[in-house]
Symmetry: D2
Subunit: 285 residues, 4 copies
């Protein structure tokens, strides 16, 4: 019934009448609202909204709809906004290192249509995941031996452009992006960190967790920024552990959490449920 | 800033333009939307909405607003709807038996303003909770020895009328309401059942859970209907247990879950977040 | 350090001195206890124990150890007991139908050594999972068109014998085993049911959950018996859902829970952490 | 049946034969083991054990039992050990400030026998909780206006001695103990911190959590040491939050978690389930 679906996301300074203006516009353009979320941030007086809608007979083209929205709603309220075709799958470039659990999970969920994405390329600094990529028929790019970081990042950017990548996923990539690349991919690069941030930033978080004797371990998916593990958090989850767990046990338990958190965060992102709010995120679940 | 807050809830047959009509109406009447939830049930083509809003300078009185809404929006869409003053606390009658954990929790949360309710009366078939009620300065009514069920229920109804009760809470009341009373209190009587329904209906659910060897136990808050433990579910929660737990252990663990579930369900109800959808509920959290 | 590990499990009528007898025996035979769990069931006066130990220099062979234990401890206390070599991987036969998520998860965790098992064969009434099996290099057996249930079960039993199968896993097999086969595989066939038992036994549990309007859905791993979905429960888990989820959404959310629950239950089983206690289980986690 | 119960806790350098020696000793002294937990820390070669047992006819007195254990088991293995009478309730001094949710929860659970403790005194730097203490008939001590920190701590210590206090609970006390007092109460002072440590140490953790935009908030119960919020962690828990929650909302959600975590940690402590392992804890649940 709702095969053609669109998603409108917007943010602007809060004021009376925004929701009425948006929904009246959609109704006049033969839009049928299926799902809607909104949030007014009282601390910043900013307003955020996401509307999922279908277009009924009589509706204009998406291009025309965008043009009309810009003029009639976007401009008057000075909005940042966008309208997306929900059926257009997001194109994802996956960066990976030696550990394959997150990549494996992403490929499986993509193949079984649990994640509405396409993965046109995978890139790695190691050969370990090549056969997994091959079975899923995804081209696997590997940095050459001794390649410098700037050269590696040039290759990443080339793939982003060549494949019209919408979002870059660091699926346990274990490398830190340069500030330049982080800036270029701002808002469209997601990292999975294997701790409950802001605890245990940086290297070997499961060892840090073991040493501190925490009773829960976690994982955090966040947008990449030029500050290590400081980007806006999209999703987090934890699992219970106890004194008998070794660092290896924590890593094993953590792998499942990492997959869950990354999958959820990526799903929220590609369904345009995540809107940046300064150093934080609004997530319309 | 938002000290005067109102809540609009509505349901009607789904169609294009409902949200636009509602929000345009509110905007025209100087309403500022603070929070909004909506749901279109694809299986029944029914639409549900809850809007929390404040009124800015220039707005009509609540009485006038209701009248205008009825005419301009309610009637055209053939809605079931209501507008509530959020600052008016719901009046709750608590029915209780010998076990006091839920009552204790409700009284504490009421006293510390965690629950936006007033409890003008408690009624019980036992004297056990009288001193707790007394400390909280809530009148405690006890059925007379040997009083028949019809006489008891007449007393309950008298209290409901006398105190303008909005919702009756069966806080481990351990009695089944007659079909007549259940019908009279339809949609405004909440029971906490000490199992994860539909498992373990009826008596001694923790013993049933022990006998079955389940690995999680739960609690369920639901509206009372004339079918035992079959009313629309508002909220549920579970906790992990294992083979070493006796029925008494399960009951002890369960008490905390019962309090949590009942508190959440009652909060949802009195904040008008729960809308009945046939034998199910829509809960705008 | 502890590369040679053994697991002793036992149950008997409870009495004073069992733990002392068991641990003194192990110490005298150069056993070093690594992990130990015990449970006295007060309702049946039965005692259960699981000990993980290594053997130090001077220890007898496993065969001799078993013989000595039988004589010195097993017989005097009239125990049901066994000693397992922890490094010997359990051999698992997987029964599957059209849905592949559980099979996929088992194969991945087996291949990455997260589950200490071998899967020498998969059997199915459908061809859908053949290519997945092929990639993992596991022989895939498919029932012939029009084969009767007794003929199918004969094939299952033949595979069990041929491959020295330790445990049969019904990974969303969607068929009910005959009472005869259930009896033959008693205590060594694990089913994953896609509901939080005892709620929603039988067919289409996610549709049942949708119709009842529950706020949490679950999955249950249990031993197969001749009563449908009534076998001893090994593990359960739930996830939160709400009114907006369709039956398809529930099934999608449920798939992840099913995988988690089945993996945990199978891991407990093959690590000999599960001991049957009548219609219930003792799980030494 | 098991009305006289005892708890033995011990730790020592790990070696073969400890469990056998302990359980054989108990058996010879007519001890019936009800529950037992053990843990060998592979990273430090240290062994930890907790045994709950009853004494049958023929057993020596507790005093004699202790003397025999010291000679026959404690000394040979160079153990740190103790034997406790389980029926002897721990005596708890509660330190509180203006916020009463944790104190209220402790008093309720003590009064309803959910926590096996006695609270002979409460001490505070504010008068707010005096009436709550009075209703529970617990003497309430308040520091005098303008009293210095050393004077306050002297009063705390005086109460500890006067009432034979076993454990001091900082139930949102909001003051930092001096290194001297922390040292004197080492291993017997429990603090509840309102964050998921090591995240958000120090002041206003809910505001810190709000600013960072985390998706889960937590609470941590830990032993007090002279390093702020760095003591050995006993228990932690988290709850899900989202972008719409204000710092006040986080604090409200957090209050329930704080109560849960503190209750669990205190229960573990007074049941002698917690053994210190350097800067970490072993918790035999």
């Amino acid at each position: 019934m709702y095969h053609d679906r669109y998603i409108l996301t917007l943010s602007c300074v809060d004021s009376r009448g925004i929701v009425a203006a948006v929904t009246t516009f959609l109704t006049q353009q033969y839009g049928f609202i299926i799902e809607s979320g909104q949030f007014g941030d009282a601390s910043t007086q900013h307003f955020f909204m996401r509307v999922e809608f279908s277009l009924q007979a009589g509706a204009p083209s998406l291009k025309m709809l965008r043009s009309l929205f810009a003029e009639q709603v976007g401009a008057p309220f000075d909005m940042r906004w966008d309208i997306f075709d929900k059926n257009k799958k997001a194109r994802v470039l996956v960066l990976v290192s030696k550990q394959g659990h997150c990549l494996h999970d992403l490929l499986y969920r993509t193949g079984t249509h649990q994640l509405p994405i396409e993965i046109p390329a995978i890139i790695s600094n190691h050969p370990d995941m090549a056969s997994l990529a091959e079975w899923h028929k995804v081209p696997y790019h590997q940095f050459a031996e001794g390649e410098s970081k700037p050269e590696q990042e040039k290759k990443i950017l080339a793939l982003v452009e060549q494949h019209h990548i919408d979002v870059v996923v660091l699926a346990r990539y274990m490398q830190i992006l340069s500030p330049e690349l982080a800036a270029k991919l701002s808002g469209r690069a997601i990292n999975i960190h294997h701790s409950f941030l802001p605890s245990f930033k940086g290297a070997r978080p499961y060892h840090q967790a073991f040493d501190r004797g925490v009773k829960l371990i976690g994982a955090t998916a966040h947008y990449v920024t030029d500050e290590l593990d400081e980007g806006p958090i999209i999703e987090q989850e934890v699992a219970r552990v106890d004194h008998a767990h070794t660092p290896d046990d924590l890593a094993a338990i953590g792998r499942d959490i990492e997959c869950q958190v990354l999958t959820r965060a990526l799903k929220y992102h590609v369904e345009h449920r995540v809107v940046l709010n300064g150093k934080k995120t609004v997530v319309f679940r």
